[in-house]
Symmetry: C2
Subunit: 105 residues, 2 copies
């Protein structure tokens, strides 16, 4: 990771195991909208290796600033895409700071 | 991030807001044990910017392999330290694969 200022967006997604494949495909398209927004740095959608993990999907993304992220989420095309998500999906989106960090030297 | 093979460990931690400061300090010490383990790559403890976020703390770490992570968590010193965590804390640890990734070019 470079030294650029950034804010971390994490979305812990709760959904039934049989909805994961469909959600991932929809997410891939929505994330393309975010990727093109000013201030986007990177995004990784993580899928649990085991089907019994409580949180099957976790998205971790980095943006230049809170303002950049807010502007991207306010994009009507993105908001429209989000409305198409199944009612069985409970997202838990929030912005985070890194408070402790260790790296292998 | 380099091209090295890795597995992602994510721990979504549920705890009362007034326990966060204490937990972070204990976590910092436990993570030092992990940092010295073979196969450790990096670890970041994220804290929610807002106190009403459902998940106040999320740890995202990378290891060379599932086996390296399992060996580190089996370390008696680490297991002893984990037993000291407050009963008010609910960890949700799991291993993940990256299924979609986008980067700013």
């Amino acid at each position: 990771m470079d030294e650029k200022e950034s804010v971390t967006f994490i979305n812990v997604i709760e959904l039934p195991a049989d909805e994961v494949d469909t959600f991932v495909e929809q997410w891939r398209e929505r994330a393309k909208l975010m990727r093109d927004a000013p201030g986007f740095q990177d995004s990784r959608l993580h899928r649990a290796k085991l089907p019994d993990a409580r949180f099957q999907l976790v998205n971790v993304a980095h943006w230049d600033s809170t303002e950049a992220w807010e502007a991207a989420t306010a994009n009507p095309a993105f908001r429209s895409a989000v409305r198409g998500v199944s009612d069985a999906v409970t997202p838990n989106p929030a912005l985070y700071d890194v408070v402790v960090e260790y790296h292998q030297p």
